[in-house]
Assembly symmetry: C3
Homo-oligomer: 389 residues x 3
């Protein structure tokens, strides 16, 4: 055949499969049933339920927080003392997290110098030789001078060069020093953005007015969209006990879920808040249970020598974790799903063919109608077969 003719036939001929049309209630119904099932699956599950027709994007977020509240403490060491935001939020601002000090061990007037190390199986000593000059371990407060000096009337420990006196954090104040923190509140401002759809929204919804914001406190039932949270309620919502947690500190997650279906009105895209505790409670599995860190305030005496107040701050760190996916109709996933759904229809045919050709009573009769046998070697046979096609 010349290429021109080939082109001609390619363009102007249409070939379609020859069909055996079997008038059989049973087989016909089976066929339609299977097709229906597949159709139901593709439409119902893939499209309606799993939104297979949507393109998705994950959230880009920015968070700012503001803590409010004051509390009073009264101890022999410090006397009556008021604590406000500037005192208990350290550092004063962070990106997606805020730390509220709930318990504290304060070591005042530390100077660089020599003093006995904390008693401990490695640091206690009887005589000078027990101490190695220059020795320092992971847990030591300073570098050993090699002397063995009395820590108190009963115990002698190796002398160290360190910030003296060294911090004694054996006894964590219990109940927590800043119990009042339970009533503090956090205002969380969250601005999210879906780059792919250029859709942005804030967790302070347009429907909220400032008078409401002044007084509301988040409650999953009554105020699900109020962005002001009481510390106590957050911890409680995570199934924890605030006063317990306050003693050794901990890490809480304030999760904001922004799952949005952008095929619907933007007003349906709202934040869902949830709370989790992130640090491991069972102290068996952690070297330092809870959450704490040390920092110092530095002072200078009139004669210019530096001293510091060492603060071991136990507290609760609130990580604001923003996550979520937005979905919006898109051609690609739609067609991919249609295409492969369509392909599944082939399954229906395959199944029914099996039924027709192997299961039903008259299978031989049907086979004869469906198939036309062609021998590779001698033609006669194929002809004879051919006749009854």
């Amino acid at each position: 055949m010349v290429s021109c003719g080939a082109l001609h036939s390619f363009l102007f001929e249409y070939d379609t499969a020859r069909i055996v049309l079997i008038r059989s209630r049973k087989v016909g119904l089976i066929n339609r049933a299977v097709q229906l099932a597949i159709l139901a699956y593709v439409i119902g599950w893939v499209f309606v339920w799993e939104k297979g027709y949507q393109e998705t994007d994950s959230v880009v977020s920015s968070v700012t927080t503001k803590v409010k509240g004051v509390t009073l403490t009264n101890t022999s060491a410090l006397g009556a003392r008021i604590w406000d935001v500037a005192d208990y939020v350290i550092p004063p601002q962070e990106e997606n997290t805020v730390f509220v000090m709930t318990n504290v061990i304060i070591t005042q007037n530390q100077h660089q110098g020599r003093c006995p190390e904390l008693p401990d199986d490695t640091t206690e000593c009887k005589v000078k030789n027990n101490c190695v000059p220059g020795y320092v371990s992971t847990h030591s407060n300073g570098i050993q001078t090699g002397e063995c000096v009395p820590y108190n009337n009963s115990v002698k420990t190796c002398e160290v060069f360190a910030w003296c006196p060294v911090e004694d954090d054996y006894h964590v104040p219990k109940p927590a020093f800043l119990q009042g923190a339970e009533n503090f509140t956090i205002l969380v401002k969250n601005n999210i953005w879906y780059p792919k759809f250029n859709f942005s929204k804030r967790n302070i919804l347009p429907t909220i007015n400032s008078t409401y914001l002044k007084n509301c406190v988040y409650d999953s039932q009554t105020d699900p969209f109020c962005p002001i949270f009481s510390l106590g309620k957050i911890v409680e919502a995570a199934g924890q006990n605030f006063q317990e947690m306050a003693v050794e500190g901990g890490v809480m997650a304030l999760q904001i879920n922004w799952d949005c279906n952008l095929d619907r009105a933007a007003s349906h895209c709202v934040p869902k808040y949830s709370f989790r505790r992130l640090d491991n409670k069972d102290s068996a599995h952690t070297v330092s249970p809870g959450y704490n860190f040390r920092f110092a305030k530095y002072y200078k005496d009139s004669n210019g020598t530096e001293s510091r107040t060492l603060v071991k701050a136990y507290g609760i760190r609130f990580d604001i974790i923003v996550f979520g996916k937005a979905g919006k109709f898109d051609v690609i996933p739609t067609v991919i799903n249609i295409g492969s759904g369509f392909a599944l229809f082939g399954v229906a045919t395959v199944l029914c063919d099996i039924v027709v050709l192997y299961c039903v009573k008259k299978k031989y009769f049907y086979r004869e109608k469906k198939y036309k046998y062609v021998e590779d070697y001698e033609l006669g046979v194929s002809e004879t077969y051919g006749t009854n096609s």
Copy 2:
């Protein structure tokens, strides 16, 4: 048929559909047209446009920033004062964000003690009974002692135990205290990584030399790849007024978009910078417009009593938001798309069959050719039908 024979036929027989080949210009052309459309879609749209053949990965990023600039202020309270980085960047370093103080309310020499609360509809009082000892609200600076003391000549307010004197932040300095901040610059160093492709790159491109870096300032037109940004220009690029924003502070996003097609040369993968304001402007919808936080500097007098300077810092927080997707050829998505695209060809056949069997003039003739009717019940009919197949 014995299973061996079944295997034999399974292996050595090939069954292909029997075709009716219709020599019809109309139908032939329709068929090819539909097929062409589908092919064009699959190739043009899915592959060329949406890069359906690519596997994607989202960015992992690390950011460091460095602010430069000094400015002079001159007020009766503080006298002439110079502000440098160590003074106005708080905290000195953060992970993906940097805060530049632009306005400030300073309350010096606060001591723990008793003093009148700020006047306010809840705190003003005429007589002692108006004040509840121990009362504290979200907005109070301290805990009420129960006394009613003069705040100034005209007003009396409840006395509180607090850091005294309490901060008076009614009047925010206007214009902003550190107007000069407009000319400060930020150097942003960003290192990104696509784990799936183990591809990493920095926003300081290899083509940039250090002399250029010393003097360049980002400009979307002239210097799109200079990583040094003038604060004023960032705010301006977001359509905001710096001096206005400086008064009450705000949150800006410095967005770095790293959309990369890794099938092309790495040199084509470059950052795109954009700027947005993240906090809500219209003060109707927010309890605390702009952005500010409090921190304190602690001092000790010669006699050891602690005092502090409370700083309410208004300023602009610059969040460096890095996002983007990298795409690279991968077999899976390619085959998925080809497969489902291929499946769509079935649609062409279905359409044309409908045309041939229901629309064209000679449909009955074609049907007769295409179909072979087989009655389930009595054979005779099927035979008669059979003949003209």
Copy 3:
């Protein structure tokens, strides 16, 4: 045909393609081979290798860190001095990162006042006129007063109003001031969460007991799951030299990879640690090599005037970068892949048809069997053709 009849036939008729069954070893084998290849691909590659049957989710993570270690320095300026966590970790806590100071330039007793600027091609002067009152550049420490004063015996520079004396950071201490930092350790606590599967886990595995945690140090070979890292080892693992890096500082990534197959037991989902250096080493391509920032400690003299100690802190910032994907069986991707894999079988048929109809010796014979030609215009031909179908 009446619609009722149409429905009847739609429901109770089953149409299946008529098949030419060719008894040919060659073609039969080709067909099965191609089908096998496709099957092998779909199952082996898409499903087994690339887990095409899984739905994936990306990780949500929270990190806390704790540094331990003390070191001694001895310089003429500061004398013997001990450095502990509160001294060298700045700020005391951050979200996903921790900064350890390794080198430092300290400028003590700075007061607001007038002093000579650092010598530099722009600031050196011979006479008053060289200096512009009020001039300030990006790199200046203060605002020029217009005077030209002696910086030292040899050089005169423009006088500036600034924190005086101005910092001289020409000479970075070498070796690094806090060499000892090499032996410090970081404890990294990481809690991850896959929202879609509501699966969470910590990097402190249940199998780890606290006695082990007290003493272990991460080692890729011997202790791959110990969450305590020696700074020296981290830098070394990234192929860097700690003492070199300590001088000018740098940024390290401590990467935690949480790729999990949630179809298997949760115990198989474990963190993989890796280390990278994030800042650019070759100083040719960066204005400020390494990593450093400035902060100040503020003091008040007995007479109330404020002074500060300016600290230029060089150090290593450790960014804990958590990433990974979790996969779990899901119906959607499975069916999509099956569907399109199924569609690929069509390819097998197409290929074999080409072979049968164009390549083999008896192609004309096969064609005649497969096709039935139907002329659009005159019937006679089609009939004659018809006969040998």
